[in-house]
């Protein structure tokens, strides 16, 4: 990992509050794998003080992409960056989804949690049989369905909470059937904690390998400030930035 000034190549609205930013860095683009993230300085000043974490969406050396939702001050500042601007970035950070060959893997994405999963589709669809379940609040929050359609996936299922555009439901609605139908023995998921909680109760005891990529409020992103912890099932805290962000589902102490 390195800290460097990266040039913004493009920063475009995908839809509504969702943006895709293309940045230049040989180091990050050549060394990132699905699950890795970067810490991005959203302002050149001391306010806001902290860098913000974003998952790597895809790479195309010497470029890499982040896909982000504008939710607050930091992401709003990021949205105002223009082509040619330099932003300080630390990365690539964290661990990655494990690499497999010839396995039946199910990807489960909730909302903006699609970022590392898109990267996984791009990197692993050639070497594994991938299926995808992707859910969001409404059709305006469910993005990249067309791009995803270009990859060879065994099965894909899209859901919206309000039923707009796609099947009304949650990512867990048909998950057991999808796992059964596709002989799934591994899942990779990314989304809000609530989604992980319901995934855990639906599929946590099926005897398959489940990997979750988590979010937490971060100070440093590389393991030194101890601010990003989640409770492990052994009762000990784990640092999302450096022990994760990818954990085995059973390593985490879920609330329900």
């Amino acid at each position: 990992m390195k800290e460097e000034a990266c040039r913004v190549i493009t920063n475009t609205i995908i839809q509504g509050r969702y943006y895709l930013m293309k940045l230049e860095s040989s180091h990050i683009s050549e060394n990132s794998k699905p699950g890795n993230f970067v810490m991005v300085a959203v302002s050149g000043s001391n306010d806001p003080l902290l860098k913000r974490p974003f998952g790597i969406f895809k790479t195309d050396p010497p470029y890499f992409y982040i896909y982000y939702e504008v939710v607050g001050k930091g992401s709003e500042l990021l949205a105002s960056k223009m082509t040619g601007d330099l932003v300080m970035v630390v990365g690539p950070l964290g661990n990655t989804f494990p690499e497999y060959e010839n396995e039946n893997i199910l990807l489960v994405g909730g909302g903006r949690g699609i970022a590392p999963l898109y990267f996984a589709i791009e990197q692993y669809s050639g070497s594994n049989n991938l299926s995808l379940i992707y859910g969001a609040r409404s059709k305006d929050d469910l993005l990249f369905t067309e791009e995803i359609g270009k990859f060879a996936l065994k099965e894909k299922a899209f859901y919206t909470d309000d039923g707009s555009g796609f099947t009304k439901g949650q990512v867990t609605t048909d998950i057991k059937e999808i796992i059964e139908r596709n002989g799934i023995n591994i899942t990779f998921s990314c989304g809000p904690d609530k989604m992980f909680e319901s995934l855990n109760s639906e599929i946590g005891s099926l005897g398959i390998s489940n990997f979750v990529s988590m979010e937490a409020f971060m100070g440093c992103g590389f393991g030194i400030c101890y601010s990003c912890v989640v409770k492990g099932s052994d009762g000990k805290y784990k640092k999302v930035c450096s022990d994760g962000p990818v954990f085995r589902m059973e390593e985490i102490k879920w609330q329900i």
Partner: protein, 303 residues
């Protein structure tokens, strides 16, 4: 080119920049960013005698140009730290300072004794201000007599140079500093974080489970600079200035206020190579202002 040496009396540092406790991990985490030999010294994260998990999240909260933290001193315990110290020491010749914590005087001594016999440890920094650990809220830094007691206990039973790190959360920091000096402290480092409060209006709750949290970062710099100036006026031992340092200019301000060296805190968290940038900026600014060495301006305000 200007001379950056910072002479603490008991040790000469190649430059005055020392990453502060809790903001630099155990040092080794930064090897992927730069050579630790570039630093004047560095302070490891605070350690108690036993392993600790730390506080329930949330542990940080951003404020305008500042950071509130309630980490709660998570760590491996003094014995567990020994291996970590040896590992880092094998990769750098920069002096290692360990931040000693304790729930009472006996624990401070227990931790200090474990570290005192390690040749890899250059100095101990006694953390008598503990903003994030709730134990009735009583810390030695709250009173000159408690400070004197614990500093004397450590000085009588350990050999390493002892830096005493003071809290800004008392009404009269200079009198605590004098008490530490009288008890034999070799240097004072000041300030630790300022206690602050973050509230969640929607849920009508404090953000942190421990209620108060410690404020650091550029937001506290003027407050810290004032205290450093007051303490440097009050004692004859070296003062290490801490609080919101982000640039080479900030370093020279603290030296001008009377500090012999400085510690960088929050900047290491948000910019992993920040301390190296600050060293370079200090050198450039000294050259620009035609300052040959730090002693030339230390405490040298034109007033």
């Amino acid at each position: 080119m200007a001379d950056l040496t910072a002479d603490l009396g008991f040790i000469k540092l190649k430059n005055p920049v020392i990453p502060a406790s809790g903001t630099f991990g155990y040092g080794g985490e930064f090897l992927q960013f730069f050579d630790l030999d570039l630093l004047g010294a560095f302070v490891m994260k605070g350690v108690y005698s036993e392993e600790r998990g730390g506080n329930e999240p949330p542990r940080i909260w951003e404020t305008p140009s500042g950071l509130l933290n309630s980490i709660g001193l998570a760590g491996p315990g003094a014995e567990g730290l020994r291996g970590i110290i040896k590992e880092v020491a094998s990769k750098t010749s920069t002096p290692i300072i360990v931040n000693v914590c304790g729930g009472n005087d006996e624990e401070y001594l227990e931790v200090a004794r474990v570290l005192d016999v390690m040749e890899e440890v250059a100095m101990l920094e006694l953390n008598i201000s503990c903003p994030n650990v709730r134990s009735g809220g009583s810390c030695p830094a709250q009173s000159p007599s408690d400070t004197k007691k614990v500093v004397r206990l450590l000085k009588e039973n350990t050999k390493k140079p002892l830096i005493v790190k003071l809290s800004p959360n008392v009404s009269d920091v200079p009198s605590v500093a004098r008490a530490a000096e009288e008890a034999g402290a070799d240097a004072i480092s000041v300030v630790n974080t300022f206690l602050g409060l973050a509230l969640d209006v929607k849920n009508r709750k404090p953000v942190f489970k421990n209620f108060f949290a410690g404020l650091s970062g550029p937001a506290i710099k003027p407050l810290a600079l004032k205290i450093v100036w007051e303490v440097a006026e009050a004692v004859n031992i070296p003062v290490i200035g801490i609080g919101g340092i982000m640039t080479g200019r900030d370093v020279l301000e603290f030296i001008l206020a009377g500090a012999t060296a400085i510690q960088t805190g929050t900047v290491n968290i948000i910019e992993p190579t920040g301390s190296v940038r600050i060293i370079n900026e200090t050198l450039e600014l000294m050259d620009e202002l035609k300052i040959d060495n730090l002693e030339e301006i230390r405490g040298g305000l034109n007033i």
